[in-house]
Amino acid sequence: MRYFLQRGGWFALTLWAAITLNFLLPRMMPGSPADAAIAKLSQNGPVTEETRRAVEAQLGVPDGSLIQQYVDYLRQILSLDFGVSYAFYPEPVSGLVAQALPYTLVLVGLVTIASFVIGTLLGVLAAWRRGTWMDALPTVGGSFLTTFPYFWTSLLLLFFLGYVAHLFPTFGAFSATTQPGLDWGTVVDAVYHAALPATTMLITSLGGWVLGMRNAMITTLGEDHVTFAEANGIPGRTVALKYAARNAILPNLTGFGMALGGVVGGSILVEQVFGYPGIGFLLFNAVTGQDYPLMQAIFLMITVSVLVANLLVDILYGILDPRTRR
């Protein structure tokens, strides 16, 4: 119980720190939102002072002291009101995020879980069949794929499978003519569109799990209790799964919670390349458009989801490891 309370307290503290950092970071960025908007406009020709005034009137300029802004910000967060986006003026931030979130959640969430599960299983296999091709292939292959830059893999897949072979769509999360709905055709369409981004993220993240699990597993396989289980004639599969993997997965699990942030980060590049309307793409737009409110909301959301994932992992850890339960 104490363990879970401790985790909860840590969660709350980190959340506060993340929220505060989130407040400060965008304010450190140079140039105002109006500058960003004008930069965008000026690509279509010189912008006059009159236009700047109109833009500033639209976007408003952050006013009040920093502390006042901070108080307002905290109040807004408590009421889940993130204001109006600058880059997508006059769209409310919450609407934009709500629109993008499902895509990323499904794409990143499913891919990460799939990658963790597949990678971990391959890692178990690699350690168990150490020194054979079942070890070498996932270990070396996986770590090679892991070193592919996200965007590069995306570009290659997009180019060859999308534009050259015409096997997969090249843009978006669904067909241009489909109105998103909850029928079977939409689902198939969505899966079809998610295939390339998902493949990219899967192949580039798999290696890490394979390696992590393999190393943990090899270490565990050298433990006395595994030797003892073998001395007791317990079948290999049971030893591998219930004795070795069951213990080896614990450190890997912590890594899982931590890695989630990295995967969301990686999705920025992937979504960018595939024109996938998720949080990553939105964040990129927010950053380039100097869109404080949107940036803050997304940043906060990513941090909170990583925190929540970590909390869940911690709870899962507590369930999986009887030693933490006391």
Binding site: L21, T146, P149, L155, I302
Partner: protein, 300 residues
């Protein structure tokens, strides 16, 4: 060191350990391949001006030329020789990899070791900060910081990557420090009148060389990939010649459309190869930190 040198001493222990470590890495087949590949890239980088057929910024050639005897990998949309850029690009990637990897390793060593050594409130505070850095998603943070510092060139990229990339290493080093801290020789050093900084950095640190080296290569790998990502997003310094900027320009000038896809393919492959070489070396280093991970089969 106050010990006077009267007799010639054998190799200092740290160096001897290093030599032994290198030997262990070398015996590891995968690590050996990694070392060779890394060595090739280092040679390429160091000798770039002599190896590269042209100046990487010389744009006096035809634009978007296909591969030919003069330009094996063709030219860019600006009329620069792709092969020369590729060779020179190794310099930046190695610089960023080793620079950012080195700095973030130093940060993680200092923080990780102090964190593992101190007890009580300071430890809790460090714990909190490190965990904060761990949960804050790295790339978005990097993007924000890079945008903030966007006109400082490659050193800013290095700094950004280092600042955002040290936390995991610190965590790993902390647990090792905490376990070494319980070893008698640390207690013994205290009994010898040693002060904390010396115990941390002279007694404990050298015993984690392999772990630190592993962390360094890991951080370097991440840094190389991060640099490429930032440059690709146009958040870096697009005037330098690196594999990341090559990809940026390739994407920008539609290398895929102009058939210049060597321009897109080669830098990515180089990044992957360089990063892989570091990962492979880490296989060997893992074997030092954890002898069970040395090559071999379980006989199953």
């Amino acid at each position: 060191m106050s010990a006077p040198e009267t007799a010639p001493r054998p190799l200092p222990p740290a160096l001897a350990g290093l030599r032994g470590g290198l030997r262990t890495i070398w015996t590891h087949r995968k690590a050996r391949i990694g070392l060779i590949v890394l060595g090739l890239f280092v040679v390429l980088a160091v000798l770039a001006p002599w190896i590269a057929p042209y100046d990487p910024k010389d744009n006096s050639f035809g634009r978007s030329l296909a591969g030919s005897a003069q330009h094996w990998l063709g030219t860019t949309a600006a009329g620069e020789d792709v092969l020369s850029q590729l060779i020179h690009g190794a310099r930046i990637s190695l610089l960023v990899g080793f620079g950012a990897g080195g700095i973030s390793t130093i940060i993680s060593v200092v923080i990780g070791l102090c964190w593992g050594y101190v007890r009580g409130l300071p430890g809790e505070v460090i714990n909190f900060v490190v965990n904060l850095f761990l949960v804050i998603p790295g790339l978005p943070l990097m993007i924000v910081v890079a945008t903030y510092l966007s006109d400082g060139g490659i050193s800013v990229i290095i700094a950004v990557i280092a600042i955002t990339g040290w936390a995991w290493g610190a965590r790993v080093l902390r647990s090792q420090t905490a376990s070494l801290r319980g070893r008698d020789f640390v207690e013994a050093a205290r009994f010898s009148g040693e002060r904390a900084p010396r115990i941390i950095f002279r007694e404990i640190l050298p015993n984690m060389t392999s772990l630190i080296a592993g962390g360094f290569f890991g951080a370097a790998t991440a840094a190389i990939l991060a640099e490429a990502g930032l440059e690709y997003l146009g958040l870096g310094d697009s005037t330098i010649v690196s594999w990341g900027t090559m990809l940026y320009w390739a994407q920008n000038s539609n290398a895929l459309l102009t058939g210049q896809w060597a321009l897109l393919f080669a830098p990515g492959l180089c990044i992957a190869l360089l990063a892989t070489s570091l990962t492979l070396i880490n296989f060997g280093i893992d074997g030092i930190s954890n002898p069970r991970l040395r090559e071999g089969s379980t006989g199953r």
